[in-house]
Structures are given as C-alpha cells and as structure tokens.
Symmetry: C2
Subunit: 155 residues, 2 copies
Amino acid sequence: MDFGLFLIYLAACGAAAATGALFPTGPWYAALRKPDWTPPNWMFPVVWFSLYLMMSAAAARAATVEGSSLGLALWSVQIAFNTLWTPVFFGLRRMKAALVPMAGLWLSVAATTVVFFTLDLWAGLMFVPYLVWVSIAAALNLSLVRLNPDAARPS
Amino acid sequence: MDFGLFLIYLAACGAAAATGALFPTGPWYAALRKPDWTPPNWMFPVVWFSLYLMMSAAAARAATVEGSSLGLALWSVQIAFNTLWTPVFFGLRRMKAALVPMAGLWLSVAATTVVFFTLDLWAGLMFVPYLVWVSIAAALNLSLVRLNPDAARPS
C-alpha cells in the first residue's frame, strides 16, 4: 500500500464525511417511522469512519497493481455519489429523490468491489463491509419512503 | 483515450452536476450584492457542462499512462469537493463555511492539473480551463462573503 495515496484518498473521503457533520439527522429524522432493524444513531459515524479508512486503504493497495485504472475510476464514482446522498436526504429531505444517488452509490460500490477483487484480494475484502453497509442504507432509505409517505417533500 | 473510462468518469461528474439542479440559485442568491465581474447565471451550467466533459476526457487520457495513480487519486479528491461545495453554499447558504470545500477544491484541481501535465500534455491542458473557472468561483465566493456580511447564516 502506498501511504501517500492512502492520505489522498482519505482526503476525498473527508469531503464525503463532512456532509455528515453539515447535514445532521436532527428532529425531522428522529420523528420518522423506522423499521425495527434501523441501526442506532451512534452507529453511523463509527461505521462510516471505519469504512472511510478501509476504502482509502483499498484504493491505495489497488493503485499499486498494474491495470487498476478501471477500479480507480469506479472509486471516483462511488465517492461522488457518497458525497451527494446526504445533502439530498438530510439537507433537502427528499427521501424519494435520494433513492437515485443511493442507486448510483450501490452500483458503483458493487462494481468497485468486484474489480478490486480482480486486482488485489485485500483491496476487494476491504470493500465488502462497505457494500454490506450501503445495502443496509439503501434498504433503510426505501423503507423510510414506504413508512413515511407524507414526510418526504415532493420530489 | 479509453472511451469506457471516459464514461465512468463522466458518471462521477454526474453526481457533481446533480447538485446544480438539486440546489438551485434562487431568490436568495439573486438578492446578494455581487461584484461587477460576476458571471451571468446562464453561463454556469454551460461552463460546467464543458468542464465535466474535459475533466472526464483528461482522466481517461491520463489513466492510460503508466504511473498515473497519483493523478487519478487527486482527481477523486476534486470530484468529491466539487460535489460538496454546492449543497453547502446554495443548500445551507453558509457562504463562509463553503470557503473550506472551495479551498479543498481549488487545491485538488491545481494539484491534478500539475500532475496531469507530467503524464500527458492534453490531459494537463484540459484541466487548465477548470483551474481558471474554480479560481473565479473561489474569488466570487470570497467576494460574496465580504459584500454580504449579514446574508450568510452563522457558520
């Protein structure tokens, strides 16, 4: 793993992470009807912090492998959609519209995971928890839309 | 240039571009005091569309050059900060706080431009208009903070 590249990828994650601080959950989210399996609020920053470290390490490992340009391009897509989702969901509170960046995020994370596995076993493995978490987040976004038909602003 | 990579990088730009549609300028921005040299509103989507095409083409060219991992990592940083800036400025209307992602964007675009020039002349050249535009955007963000001390929400 190239440590300089790790820090650069971590800087990209910093932009995504900032959305969590800038667009907090607040009373609107607290008042939504949620499925039983909704993770508690404290878990989100903890999980995301771990995922940002792992996805940066995965990219820094993959980058040292020849022919990694496809995987690194997909990594760029996932970090952009990751940064987009929070302002749409918690900023605009457009839960339905947020399903679009969520779909983009899920697809790009899944594609990055697959391509990283072809480049480097550890890079692929470090993306698996991210894919699991984004799957949970996508299911949660969808459940919140269904359980709160009147809470979403028109999208 | 690898056309498949171009489309993948363009998808990342799509997330950034979506912020322009989701967080429009609106009456708040229209009412701000602006410097004489503020570009007219119609110019922003036209310029951004051109810049997204160029920065995707630049990445797709650079990616085919050996040793491009540093440049591609920096590209990821700039697209994440690009996606972050609009929701902070036009969504939260936190003009001062928006200077932080703007600084991250300017630095990452400048670094990507320099590194792309070492990889491929055209990739570097295609980032120059982006660096110029982000410099103008940064100067505009700073001027708006100064000219409208009361319009920014506390940050």
